[in-house]
């Protein structure tokens, strides 16, 4: 499970990274808001821990920008004790939880576990990307026509849309879409092939780029004749 930690205090950053890594998380740590934003844009995380007080861009600004580009990764905010308004603003801006400094490591770990667990239950009714709409209630993929997807096709498409603009490798998809189910790299390839066929079937221009066993990414594609 991959986490991003953005905390500008060196010692704090180092300590948290060590603890989280020890717990088995794969941690990327950064020291300011701009760095955090660039990591979030280019990589996929299961959870983000953001300190509010950071140089260049503060945690709230990072959070707002992240939510504005449709990235729904859970965010835990770290706030100083007095910052009640910040906590309210943070939750309103789309944070999933906050933790007031100073905090016990045990509690931080529990909150990280809780927020990454909740992520699985998180779903929006409709996801849009270019000319397609993915409806979570009906498992329906729509462009100029619609088709109904199977559960795994739906989850794979959801992962691709939520990470649009980023390359997702076969292993990431196995871990996140299939999780503990019995699946192999060719399962991913088969389902990518299904979705490619179904994008054509609904007459979408959207393309899934990538080759068997490799990394995949949604791209807008080019115009096709509407006959």
């Amino acid at each position: 499970m991959k986490l991003l930690l953005a905390e500008d205090t060196r010692d704090m950053n180092r300590a948290l990274t060590a603890v989280l890594s020890h717990e088995g998380y794969d941690v990327d740590s950064v020291f300011d808001g701009e760095e955090a934003l660039s990591h979030i844009r280019h990589d996929s995380y299961d959870g983000i821990i953001l300190d509010i007080m950071m140089p260049k861009k503060n945690g709230l600004e990072v959070l707002s920008e992240v939510r504005a580009i449709n990235i729904l990764t859970p965010v835990l905010l770290l706030t100083a004790k007095a910052e009640v308004d910040d906590r309210v603003a943070g939750l309103d801006a789309g944070a999933d939880d906050y933790l007031t400094k100073p905090f016990a490591i045990k509690e931080l770990l529990a909150r990280v576990r809780s927020m990454t667990r909740r992520r699985r239950e998180y779903s929006v009714k409709e996801l849009k990307y270019e000319d397609i709409v993915l409806n979570a209630e009906r498992f329906e993929l729509t462009s100029s026509n619609s088709v109904r997807l199977s559960i795994k096709e739906f989850e794979l498409m959801q992962a691709l849309i939520l990470n649009a603009g980023r390359k997702l490798d076969t292993k990431y998809l196995l871990d996140h879409v299939w999780e503990k189910e019995d699946a192999q790299p060719d399962t991913v390839w088969l389902y990518i092939s299904y979705l490619r066929g179904k994008l054509l079937a609904v007459d979408s221009r959207v393309i899934i780029s990538g080759a068997r066993g490799g990394s995949f990414q949604l791209t807008p594609g080019v115009g096709r004749d509407k006959t």
Binding site: G197, K198, A201
Partner: protein
């Protein structure tokens, strides 16, 4: 053996009209020959494919000449006169052939095959597979003019599209008499979208089997 008999073994169901069918005048035998010609060409392709790949791209074909009654009804409905001229050249589905395929790509393969014949001029083409009708109806429709005279309406679809259309047809007949019109219509649409999805998956699995076997 009449011309009719010669083609019946190619098709599952064949609806013909009597020779003396007045709306078509003296044209019935010639219309049968045109219809038979389409069926023969499809049969030839099927035979070739069976020999080459061991599989048959077509599940079954249906062919019909529109009955006198429904042709007259259509002429009236469309505001044409009930003459042989209008029946043959204003209405373009006096002759109809439906080709039902097992797989999606076969639909397009058969279509591409038919349009290559020089005496078949495509005068209208609608891809309701890529652009499904709002109710979920899917099929590839094509009107060809054979040898510059008779029109033939071709409908190409997969087995699941065909099954769906059969059910939708029943619903269509009973429309207005059913209590749950809207519910049935929306459920039919959902089924159409599920079947379309499965058609794509089955095609991809077939491709995969062929690749692995190659």
């Amino acid at each position: 053996m009449s011309q009719f008999d010669r083609y019946t073994h190619y098709v599952e169901r064949y609806s013909d009209v009597p020779d003396h069918c007045t709306i078509y005048g003296e044209h019935v035998p010639a219309m049968r020959a045109v219809m038979g010609g389409v069926l023969t060409r499809i049969e030839t392709l099927r035979k070739e494919m069976r020999e080459k790949t061991g599989t048959d791209p077509v599940d079954h074909c249906l062919a019909r000449i529109k009955t006198e009654e429904s042709m007259r009804e259509k002429l009236r409905r469309r505001g044409f006169s009930e003459t042989t001229e209008d029946a043959l050249f204003k209405i373009r589905d006096a002759i109809g052939v439906r080709i039902v395929c097992a797989f999606l790509n076969d639909v397009y393969m058969i279509k591409d095959y038919l349009v290559r014949f020089e005496d078949y001029e495509v005068v209208d083409e609608k891809d309701y597979i890529r652009h499904a009708k709002p109710n979920g109806y899917r099929s590839y429709h094509m009107i060809i003019r054979v040898g510059g005279t008779y029109y033939v309406e071709l409908q190409l679809r997969t087995i699941s599209m065909d099954t769906w259309a059969a059910l939708e047809h029943q619903m269509h007949y009973k429309k207005g008499t059913l209590e749950n019109d809207a519910l049935i219509a929306s459920e039919l649409k959902r089924c159409a979208d599920e079947l379309a999805s499965t058609d794509v998956s089955m095609q991809i699995i077939r491709d995969m089997i062929r690749e692995e076997g190659a």
